[in-house]
């Protein structure tokens, strides 16, 4: 029996380079917010760059120096939601427009992966591209339109 975990990717265009005063608060909050994720119930894995602390040095679009990627894996939609919206992370989220542009299209995608799978940035960006192109489906969906995990547990994670 294969278990499935929830993969999440979101991208954001910073309003200024990370080493400028405009982004200083965001950069300062990152260690504690990432540490909070790491110890949150249901956390499995998150993408990090060669420094190993976070993914802020990765640029998933080679043409865009300002586009950051955040990618992680969780045991369930509820676990990710609890971290994103029912923790100190919410405070950072409410300040998003101080640091990030509002993107015209989907900036977040969710999909199910076999337990143990670690999505690559390219794979994650492709999910966002498909979500933007075709709208929510089991291949790439959103919190607003969740899809259940495949397999024998289908339905257990449906909302």
């Amino acid at each position: 029996m294969t278990d499935f975990h929830l993969a999440q990717v979101n991208v954001g265009r910073i309003l200024a380079p990370l080493d400028t005063p405009a982004l200083a608060d965001f950069v300062a909050r990152l260690p504690e917010i990432n540490a909070l994720a790491d110890r949150s119930p249901g956390f499995v894995w998150r993408l990090v760059d060669d420094d190993g602390a976070d993914s802020t040095s990765l640029r998933p679009d080679g043409q865009d120096d300002m586009l950051l990627i955040n990618c992680s894996v969780w045991t369930s939609i509820e676990a990710l939601k609890d971290y994103a919206y029912r923790s100190e992370h919410l405070r950072v989220l409410t300040r998003r427009r101080e640091w990030f542009e509002k993107l015209a299209d989907h900036h977040l995608a969710l999909w199910w992966v076999p337990a143990g799978h670690r999505p690559t940035p390219a794979e994650a960006m492709e999910r966002i591209a498909v979500l933007r192109e075709e709208g929510p489906s089991a291949y790439a969906f959103t919190f607003h339109d969740p899809y259940p995990a495949p397999g024998p547990h289908a339905g257990a994670t449906a909302q």
């Binding site: 919206y85 029912r86 923790s87 919410l90 405070r91 989220l93 409410t94 427009r97 101080e98 607003h144």
Partner: protein, 222 residues
């Protein structure tokens, strides 16, 4: 809304026309934990059997829900029957005469504000609106009373004031970054106008249920 739906809402809300029932209802919904019959009866100043009668009427009306729990903490044989406890039912009831649907307008506006990325503009407007409300209070209410009067249902958890109800629940659930940021700004704006409000700070510290904002008073000696 069909006339059947409307009748259902009227019947639910009509269950609160009784003064004793209102007292029981308010006591139960203000508590972060489910409430037993004895505690509810004592709060309303009535007998246990009368409280049980009215509490069950509120359950029938869909305003309260029932859970069973052993209050003693004992388990196994001899622990006794689990106590019948009451908490607020999950569903929302809205009565507007004549019919007004501000909820759907709020949802539409929130979607547009969210899509336009106007978080900071909304927070600034909320802070001003909170400050205007605070000025109107002119120190007549302390923060606990002011938040209670706005439907937040404050309760103490040790030295932290928590808010059992989110007045913007459905919108906060759908647009958390936008609406929770607005709510924090609103409360921060409101505090200075409350009696002793200068000594309070509001922070975002979401518990599993209820409002995401918690408050602390520098002078609170609880």
């Amino acid at each position: 809304m069909t006339s059947d739906d409307e009748d259902g809402v009227f019947e639910s809300v009509g269950a609160l026309s009784d003064r004793v029932r209102r007292a029981l209802y308010r006591h139960v919904v203000a508590s972060p934990d489910p409430v037993g019959r004895d505690a509810a009866a004592e709060a309303a100043g009535i007998s246990r059997s009368l409280a049980a009668f009215h509490l069950d009427k509120l359950v029938e009306a869909g305003l309260l829900a029932v859970t069973y729990q052993r209050l003693s903490g004992r388990t196994g044989p001899g622990a006794g029957r689990p106590a019948k406890l009451y908490r607020r039912a999950e569903n929302e009831h809205t009565v507007s005469l004549p019919p007004r649907t501000y909820g759907s307008v709020g949802r539409l506006l929130a979607a547009v504000v969210d899509a336009a990325g106007l978080d900071r503009e909304l927070q600034s407007a909320a802070r001003s609106a909170g400050a205007a409300e605070g000025e109107a209070l002119a120190g007549a209410l302390d923060p606990v009373a002011a938040l209670r009067s706005r439907g937040y249902e404050p309760y103490w958890e040790e030295r932290t004031l928590r808010l059992n109800n989110c007045p913007f629940h459905a919108l906060a659930d759908e647009f958390p970054a936008l609406v929770c940021g607005m709510n924090l700004a609103l409360i921060e704006g409101l505090l200075p106008g409350c009696a002793g409000g200068q000594d309070w700070t509001a922070v975002m510290d979401p518990p599993p249920h209820g409002c995401c904002v918690a408050l602390k008073s520098k002078t609170n000696n609880r």
